[in-house]
Structure formats: C-alpha cells, structure tokens
C-alpha cells in the first residue's frame, strides 16, 4: 500500500489549523491561554506516542511503508512542542525570564517539561540523512531518547493535574504498551502472515 507523505504532512497540520481557526473566531473559551497551552502540549504528547507506535505497527501489520513517515511524525512532535513552549513563555509569561526561571527552579513539572523539550532538540537536529550517515551507530543510540521524551511528557502532565489523573494515566499506559512491544518477549508478534 502506498503512503502519501504530503497527505500525512497536511493531516499533521490539522491541529494547528484548528486552534488557529478557534483563535481567529475568538472561540477559544473562557481561558484561551490555558486552552492553547493545553492543546499544543497534548498534541506534542500525541505525536510522540504516534511516532513510537510506528515501529511496532510496521512489524505487527507488516506494512513497511510506515517507516517513511516516522521521521516526519517525530519532527511534528518537536514542532508542537516548540509551539507549546512558546505559548507558555510568550502568551502566558510574556517572556518575563525572571518568572520563567523561578518556575523552572521551583516547580518540578515545568522543569520536567523543559527537560523533555531540551532532549528533543538533538533528535530534531540529527533527523537529516547527513547526520544519520555521519553518526552511524551513535545515531541509533542517540535516538533512543525518543523513549525518554514521552515519559517526561506524561510525568509533566501528571504533575500539573490538580486531582483527576485519568488522562495522564491513560497516556502513561499507552506509552508502557508501546515500550513493552519492543521487548524480546513480544518482538516476534505479527498480525499478518
């Protein structure tokens, strides 16, 4: 089966189009800043999880074409993560560095979130073919950070929730499944053939 990269690219832009549409029509709800921050944060996590699901899905379904979109999906996680960080630092904190640094130092969930973003940076920077050929085996080692970043994302989410943990627990469970599917115990599983 063929996979149209351009189609996936446009699909991945839909969340951004949706939130921009809401913003233009002034229909972001009572707390638009919170809405934008939560929305971009959630989509960062979604794209991290979607990216992690590619390898097991390819194996389970025997659909090799999936590999062609993995890098793009990972970069979209970085893209939405950047929007998330910018909306926190910009529209929420007005780039008042004093407040932001205080937040990072004093509030672990901010520190965890920022750490997750910082760990995405080398992955985004080395996502090109040149870096793959240059780094060789080390590239694969480096990109194991893709397992760590979503864990930080889930923790970041769980830590800020006031009381109802259902949603972060759901994403945490999904992440555990995606990681477990990589264990030797499950690595022989196939759906097709």
């Amino acid at each position: 089966m063929n996979l149209d990269k351009r189609g996936v690219f446009l699909l991945a832009l839909l969340p951004l189009l949706w939130i921009s549409w809401l913003a233009f029509h002034n229909t972001l709800g009572a707390n638009p800043v919170e809405r934008v921050i939560h929305f971009t944060g959630l989509w960062t996590l979604y794209f991290l999880l979607i990216t992690l699901s590619i390898t097991p899905l390819r194996r389970l379904l025997g659909w090799n074409a999936l590999l062609r979109i993995r890098r793009m999906l990972g970069l979209f996680a970085f893209f939405y993560g950047t929007l998330h960080l910018l909306s926190y630092a910009g529209i929420d904190q007005w780039f008042t560095w004093q407040a932001i640094i205080h937040d990072i130092v004093k509030h672990p969930y901010i520190l965890i979130g920022v750490s997750g973003y910082v760990l995405m940076l080398p992955l985004a920077l080395t996502s090109n073919a040149w870096a793959v050929s240059k780094l060789k085996a080390r590239w694969k080692q480096l990109h194991r950070l893709a397992y760590v970043v979503p864990a930080l994302g889930v923790l970041h989410f769980a830590w800020l929730v006031k009381k109802d943990m259902n949603e972060p627990l759901l994403y945490g469970a999904l992440l555990l499944v995606l990681l477990a599917l990589r264990l030797p115990l499950f690595s022989q599983w196939r759906f097709s053939r």
């Binding site: 009572a30 004093k106 509030h107």
Partner: protein, 314 residues
C-alpha cells in the same frame, strides 16, 4: 472598607495596547486580528430574575466577567472534572424543594427551605473578585445575604468555634459522584470569626438572576479573600462545631490544601506559583496580573489572622 480595585489591578490602556503591538512585532501572528474581549454571547441566559435586592458599593470599579464565562468555566467536580462539565451536566440537579439542615452546637437543630431563607434575609448584590487556586480569577456580581445574618438566626452556642458546610451528594443527580475523585460529600469549613465576617456571603443569585446550577444552586458560600474552592456549592447542611473540620481538599492532599486557604501570593502551591493570576475574559494576549494578599481584601480581613504564620497556616 476598600471598595475600589487597587490601581495595580488595572492595566492602563496605553500599556495594554503597547504590549499587543510588541507581540504583533514578535511575529506571534494573530495579535492584531484578535480582540481581547469576550466573544458575543452564544449562551442566552435562561435564569429567573431576582427582584428586590439592594445594590451595594462593592467592586463597582471592576470590569465584570461575562455571564457566559462565569457559567461555562466551572470547577464543580460533582458534575465532572473538566471546566465545561458542570455547564453540560448540572441540568440534572433539582434545586426545589431544597432543605437546609442546621445542626451541632446550636440552641436547637433546625431545618429550613431555601425559599424561606431567601425571604428571611434581605438580598444584596456584591461584586467580588474570585481567585481560583489554579491561578485564574473572575469578577462576579453575586446576589445573596451575609452568612453573619444566617448564623445569628441559627443561634449557635458558645461551643461553636467552627462552621462546617456540606454539599449535596446524590449520585442520581450528580454524575461526577460515580468516581471517587474527592471524598464525597464535598465538605468545607470556616472559623467562626471568618464565617461572621461581613464580607462572607451566602449567594443565591448571579447577574440579578437565580444562581445557575453549575454555579452551585440553590445556595453557595462566597468567601472572596480565600481560594475559590472554599466557596462550597449546593449546600444542604451547616454544622457548628468546637473542632476544626477536615475539608474534602484537606483529605485529598493536606500538603497542598490547608484549612485556611487564604489567597496569598507569597505562598506558592507546592506545584505551581500563586504570585500571579490570569483574569478570565482577558483574551489571548493579555498579561497575567499580580495576585494580591487576601485577594485584595487585606484591609478588611488581615486582622483576622494577626500573629498567625500564614506560611504554616496556609
């Protein structure tokens, strides 16, 4: 009593416009295209008008939060934990007939229907700031009567040192109760002097209308110098006691939620800052504002806490 906002609460128009210009130049887009005000009302108010209430001078210089925002952005976990849940699900709450039970350290226990209570005490409108522990705030025109008057009427004995409030907990009317998010029924409490403070209000209305269900109909507590969760909703029981009640949020996490829960920018929530707040209705490009000690009511209430270490008694 201070009835106008501190000058620091109001962002001067010029600064505000300048900030928007800066944002636009930073290329965050949208800035120019977006108004900061609320969208035109999509939600027609359906409430029944309240009549014969007195207007008061409280908070008249404040810009009111819109009816839409006050009634669609709520924390009322009995109807779900999302802010939109109460507006969607509180229709199932039956607010008449509604009986309030008074018990504990009283000359005699009493019961009274909410309509009778509303006839017993003259209603007044009070515009109060409401600061949520989640670091957002609103300005709300409540209609109600001072709790002080209700307490006088209930005739507590000298043993009464605290007032405990209990919300309705009926799973048939409140879908949120299916999950043990909090220890139901929702319970709150005040020290006797806090409860008798003239600012402490029992609200039965909003914007001159009967209180919408999602805002705690038919009767709720409003303590403007404390975090919003102290304002217990849909009250069915008031108990006078000689010991400090343990509230639902204290049970949920005593390290994060204390009995007093006075608005205090100097004491952070263990997980987030309380130094600033976001005023609801300010739009996408309005800056946070500084949170004031006791939510700006320090002049009226700070003396209640003389000699207390507010970092310890948070």
């Amino acid at each position: 009593m201070r009835k106008s906002p501190l000058p620091s609460e109001i962002t001067p128009q010029a600064i505000y416009l300048e900030r928007r210009k800066i944002l636009a130049q930073m290329g965050l887009g949208l800035a120019g295209a977006l108004g900061a005000g609320a969208a035109p009302s999509a939600l027609a108010s359906t409430g029944q008008k309240l009549t014969g209430y007195q207007s008061t001078a409280y908070g008249h210089d404040e810009k009111l939060t819109t009816y839409d925002n006050i009634t669609t952005y709520n924390n009322f976990y009995e109807f779900g934990t999302d802010k939109e849940d109460p507006a969607s699900h509180a229709g199932s709450l039956k607010t008449r007939p509604w009986t309030l039970t008074f018990e504990g350290a009283l000359k005699r226990p009493r019961q009274m229907g909410v309509d009778d209570l509303m006839r017993l005490f003259p209603l007044e409108e009070r515009i109060y700031r409401m600061r949520c522990v989640e670091a957002w705030s609103m300005v709300i025109p409540w209609v109600g009567f001072p709790l002080q008057k209700l307490i006088q009427w209930a005739e507590p004995t000298a043993q009464a040192k605290y007032v405990e409030f209990v919300s309705l907990a009926d799973p048939a009317q409140m879908p949120g109760l299916r999950r043990a998010v909090l220890d139901w029924p929702y319970t709150e409490g005040l020290r006797m002097d806090e409860a008798q403070h003239p600012l402490t209000l029992m609200a039965v209305g909003l914007y001159g209308e009967i209180l919408p269900n999602q805002n705690g109909a038919p009767l709720r507590l409003v303590v403007p110098w404390k975090y919003g969760f102290k304002g217990i909703k849909s009250i069915v029981k008031i108990r006078f006691r000689d010991t400090m009640p343990v509230t639902s949020w204290m049970k949920a996490n005593s390290a994060e939620y204390g009995f007093y829960s006075n608005v205090n920018p100097a004491v952070d929530h263990p997980r987030w800052s309380q130094a600033t707040e976001r005023r609801i209705g300010g739009g996408l490009f309005e800056a946070r504002r500084k949170t004031l000690p006791f939510n700006g009511y320090a002049e009226e209430v700070a003396s209640l806490y003389n000699g207390m270490d507010l970092k310890k008694y948070f």
